[in-house]
Amino acid sequence: MTDVIARPPDLVPASPPAPAAESLAERLLRTQAPQRPQSAPAIRLEVDGRVVEGREGQTILEVCRDNGIEIPTLCYEPKLPGFGACRMCVVDVEGEEHPPISCSRAAEAGMVVRTQTEEVRRLRRTNLELIFSDHNAYCLPPCQNKCPSHIDIPGFLKANAEGEFRESARIFKRTIPFPSILGRVCPAPCEEHCRRDEVDEAIAIRDSHRYAGDQVIREMVERDVDPPLPFELQPPTGKRVAVVGSGPAGASAAYYLLIAGHDVTILERDEAPGGMLRYGIPEYRLPKARVLEPEYESITRLGGRFECGRELGRDFSLDDLQNQGYDAVVLAIGCYDTNKLGIPNEDAEGVIDGLEYLKIATLGHTYPGHAGTRVVVIGGGFTAMDCVRTSVRQGAAEVTLVYRRDMKDMPAASEVHEAIEEGVTTIFQAGPTRVLVDEATGRVTGVEFIRMQLGAPDASGRRRPEPAPGTEFVLECDRVLLAIGQGPDLSWIGPGNEGAQATKQRRLRADAVTFETGRAGVFGTGDVRNGAQTVVQAIADGRRAAYAVDAYVRGLDLGAIRTRQTLAEPQPEFLSIVPFTSEVKESRHRLSSLPAEERRSTYVEYEIPYSRSEAVAEGTRCLQCTCEAIGYCDLRRLGIEYGTTLRTLEPRLNRGAGYRSVTENRFTGYNHDYLRDDSHAFILREPSRCIDCGRCANVCAEVVGAACYDFMRIGFDTLVTTPLDMSLNDTPCVSCGRCAETCPTGALMPKPRILEKYEVDESRCILCGICVDACPYDALRCGPDFELAHTSREEPMIDLIAIAAVDRETEMTYVRRERDWAPRALAAGRDIGPRMLPVLPASLAGPGGGNGHAAAHATGDNGHAAAGDAGGHAPHD
């Protein structure tokens, strides 16, 4: 502000006569004149139906914040007057044509304000959508976005790159308990979206977690080292959960329920646990004894019990389970009802259910009479691929795969080439019309097919195949394996199992968020709920179901967890505040792992596709596409709250980088792609993430006085940047970090670094106080005795590396938003060890040597918070 408005004389507090024996501190306090008239008249207004009190001269926003009413803001910087750029703080004021912005609008007595009307929420949503339509940045990397379980891929790759494979597996297990299984059977949708292919080739994400997982198995098998736990094991809750079905969905639900402290029993129909992993996926893709069993052992090691040979509907009912005192039942019984073709002679001898065939084969038995035959496999999914490749391995004379769509539409397309290499003939775009049978023997002699042409795209985006009349042809064969998909077997629904219902698509009806079925205390997850999908999807579903079941047995309101549950899922659009992680978010300490040195010297495993150095090298290739701001980005938080960060534009062939990464919404159009500026030693600039809120420019000019940034250019191309886009290094920047602190997004960030201790040369300090204003963390303050300002650095400087690590994992911020982070962290039982805090010079450290911070913080209040806002600041405004 340029003008100095004289304080009206009647507001100057008459100074009382100084008492005789006044302490030095008191006198100093008194001579610090209040900066604002403390006695502005009170006003009352109505906000959201509640009468609140404020003071004259406050904005609506200030009044609301003082009264604990949250209004979203992006451009508002508390140290400065409202700026009015983001329009997020619009509120409804009765009698106004257009909703005013609360950060700039003075509160008036008697105003009737509503902060959450349909209209203002819509306006905020539109604003966010507009921002995201030009926000050329990833919150989470596209790989993580595309992994159905949203694994922290750059996280575990980074651990791989550092050779910390156990840590890598631990990160993986936060969302999927089985890195080695997935490392073999996952179709790896993540890799299709890896940005590294812009540089050269996508990262081998799947092989990387396979390597890390295999190391864990090795340690467990050879030295009985427990697999790492992703989260702290919770104390027993005494709640009992029955999981029916031991496939990936059931196993994953069991795993996370066990970590949450519940008692879990898994009831399985077959002789051994694993579901499709054991009886569907062949040994050559997933070794049972070497991979499946050891990874499943992580469940038994946590105290989970498998009870095999127990079938729902045959051996027990839901009534039975609930009568036995199970607090919750999770149904994860998969899909075992093979679909029918619906064509003549389908039941002829020689037409075999592919799943049954595979079950025999995976048990290591030869399917009777398969050798030497001509086999036709109908279908295009995993089952079909496994059927053809197993048939080849079992000595079939001729194997033909027929699929009604195009090759690129095959769910298991990646395997086709391997199958062709193994001698399989493939025919695409043909559908069976009838099975030909030898009248005399009743045996199959061939199948008649008809050519398919592609019609309009269906719901899945694939074009629907339609038969082309007159293009019939016949394939002669001895055996037909049907692999055209499965649905769940729900024949057990009925007496004893009332309440459970089937959907129109013949699946188990279960809520997508709470996983509740029609029967109280019974949950459904995995293929039985979704229809046949993939292992990774089943596992993700199982984990999410575990959250819901956990909430249910703890007696939380499932309706209420619906929001939290949605929030819990670490999707790009959702913050990761998973119930499990909230207690253990700082647990990146090493569990009882062997020193890396020792591991390095003991181990080379021949079956493992990567050598250690290859695995490390692959990890190093990762571009770490995550946004550093994740977890404290206001834009992302609001985007989540307003549901505007939904889909991310997928890479399109031959489209410029500008089209690759922005969030897709109704406004998507041209967008900017700016260069990153990392020339500055302390501040990282990523202008593509800038939302032009102007905070950095205003703070830098008006609080710091350096004026390194301003709005450049006009119109859509406006960007808050340095003059002429010069490197920040070349501006008069004083490296105070204020801009990075105020930036609501990841456009300006403190560069990870370790702060050295700073020493003040008192003989040269001119007491200008600029450091006090400029320090982004309020580590300095004007004490009553200003000359000693710098000694108030009993508040620590902050180790930014530690913060970055914390943020990545917890998506929580202590430093940026919460000035009293340290007491809070301590109160939460978090260890602020020496790694977090730099060592202070002995002269400043508290009594008793050491650095004494813990003690200072544990008291919770050392005057710092008071110095922050109230009246203690040096005259500056």
Binding site: D3, C86, R87, T126, D692, I714, G715, F716
Partner: protein
């Protein structure tokens, strides 16, 4: 110089006065001007009316701002006059943002004394000691005329220290400002005068409360102020009797486009658009009328059926256009409105100051929808999206720019739907302007129905 068109009836012309005879005295000739009545109003204000009387007269005259918004001048004057702050300013907005517009320029060049006198009267009335006429730097002639007029008037004691021995000081300064379109917006103009970043400020507080350097400031278009001396001399009732009773007086309108004799006319408010076109000689020979764009780059297209719309703030707003800069452009059948609308919205998007999100990104997205219309690649959801986005931008707008900028597209949709359909559904441009339409449509047809 732009042709001055005849006024419709032989009513008074408070703004332009009588058309000067060729070879007559220069507009900056003080003696000639005084002989023609200049500064008579200032004398009345100093001698009879006093500040309060002047305020009452202006309020009673019903004068409304000519800068586009049409806000009652009396209310603004009273707000500034009753402010607590003793330091106040008057700013005459002579920026004239619309690049195709010259009414203000004509006024400043031909009637500099009216502008200067109006500013001085306003300053006396609201208690300001300084009035600043901010003129677009490119208007070198206007700047010279105003400077000469202000200098001569000060020499003669009409301005400066102790105006007409009233004991009041009024300095009238001429300042040149240079910048983009948005500079015409009042808060931007004020910031430019302060030497700050050219972006609008949130209102309220209005400039009348917190304006130049934080002090109460009366901002008026030069045409608003130029009407003031006439009002004072002839009285509020005489002014009220001219034109539309709700917004009386005359306005400067620049009629251009496919007309026979383009030029600027001073017309009573409420004159119909048809009359305006006729004043400019009607539609040019050999051309066929299609639409009239009223209000400049952020104006609206009105069809032939609406030619009887009176030129008033309210009637134009209801029709989807606005007075804006005072531009009336006739588009004939060789013009593609889809093409023109998208260009205009893109212009507005590119000229936006870039401060607020709905304006910086929203206008661009609107322009992109317009582009899709022109290309024949619009999505089925686009019409609704356009309306929704324009509404949302207007609701959370910081300044009027983003409220008005979608007008060309909105009126094109409202009145010329079939033309848009031709582009979007049939891939043809009736005016034969949009080339890519046919290409895009042909490509689309090959790939089956979109």
């Amino acid at each position: 110089m732009t042709t001055i068109l005849p006024s419709p009836a032989s009513g008074p012309r408070p703004l332009l006065g009588d058309v000067p005879a060729a070879g007559g005295p220069a507009p900056t000739d003080l003696a000639a001007a005084v002989a023609g009545g200049a500064f008579a109003a200032l004398r009345t204000v100093v001698g009879d009316l006093g500040p309060t009387g002047t305020l009452v007269t202006i309020a009673a005259s019903g004068l409304r701002g000519r800068g586009g918004g049409g806000f009652p001048a009396g209310d603004k004057w009273r707000a500034v006059a009753s402010a607590d702050d003793p330091v106040r300013y008057v700013v005459a907005n002579g920026y004239e943002a619309d690049p195709a517009q010259a009414t203000g320029r004509l006024l400043m060049e031909t009637r500099p004394f009216a502008v200067v006198e109006g500013a001085a009267i306003a300053a006396l009335a609201v208690g300001a000691r300084e009035a600043i006429v901010a003129v677009r730097a490119e208007y070198a002639d206007a700047v010279r005329a105003l400077e000469a007029a202000a200098f001569a008037a000060e020499e003669a004691g009409y301005l400066g220290r102790d105006v007409l021995r009233s004991g009041r000081d009024v300095a009238v300064t001429i300042r040149t400002v240079q910048g983009a379109y948005m500079l015409g917006e009042e808060t931007v103009l004020l910031k430019a005068l302060e030497g700050r970043r050219g972006q609008p400020e949130q209102r309220p507080p209005h400039p009348s409360e917190r304006g130049l350097f934080g002090h109460p400031t009366l901002v008026h278009n030069v045409a608003t102020l130029a009407a003031v001396p006439w009002v004072v001399v002839h009285g509020a009732d005489a002014f009220r009797a001219i034109g539309d009773p709700d917004a009386p007086g005359t306005m400067l309108v620049q009629v251009s486009g496919a007309v026979a004799a383009p030029g600027i006319a001073e017309v009573p408010t409420g004159t119909t658009l048809r009359t305006l076109v006729d004043l400019a000689g009607g539609v040019a020979p050999g051309r066929t009328f299609k639409a009239v764009l009223v209000g400049g780059p952020t104006g609206g297209f009105l069809p032939a059926e609406l030619l009887d719309t009176p030129y008033t703030f309210a009637a134009l707003r209801d029709a989807g256009a606005h007075v804006g800069s005072g531009a009336v452009v006739v588009a004939d059948t060789t013009t593609c409105l889809v093409d023109l609308a998208r260009l205009l919205v893109r212009f507005s998007a590119d000229e936006a100051c870039g401060k607020t999100i709905p304006c910086r990104i929203g206008l661009r997205r609107l322009a992109e929808i317009g582009q899709r219309y022109a290309d024949g690649t619009a999505r089925p959801t686009d019409p609704q999206l356009l309306v929704d986005l324009a509404d949302d931008c207007a609701a959370s707008a910081l300044c009027d720019h983003e409220r008005l900028a979608p007008s060309p597209l909105r009126t094109a949709m409202r009145y010329f739907g079939p033309e848009i359909d031709d582009h979007v559904l049939r891939g043809t441009c009736p005016a034969g302007v949009c080339g890519p339409v046919r290409l895009a449509a042909a490509a689309g047809r090959q790939g089956g129905p979109r």
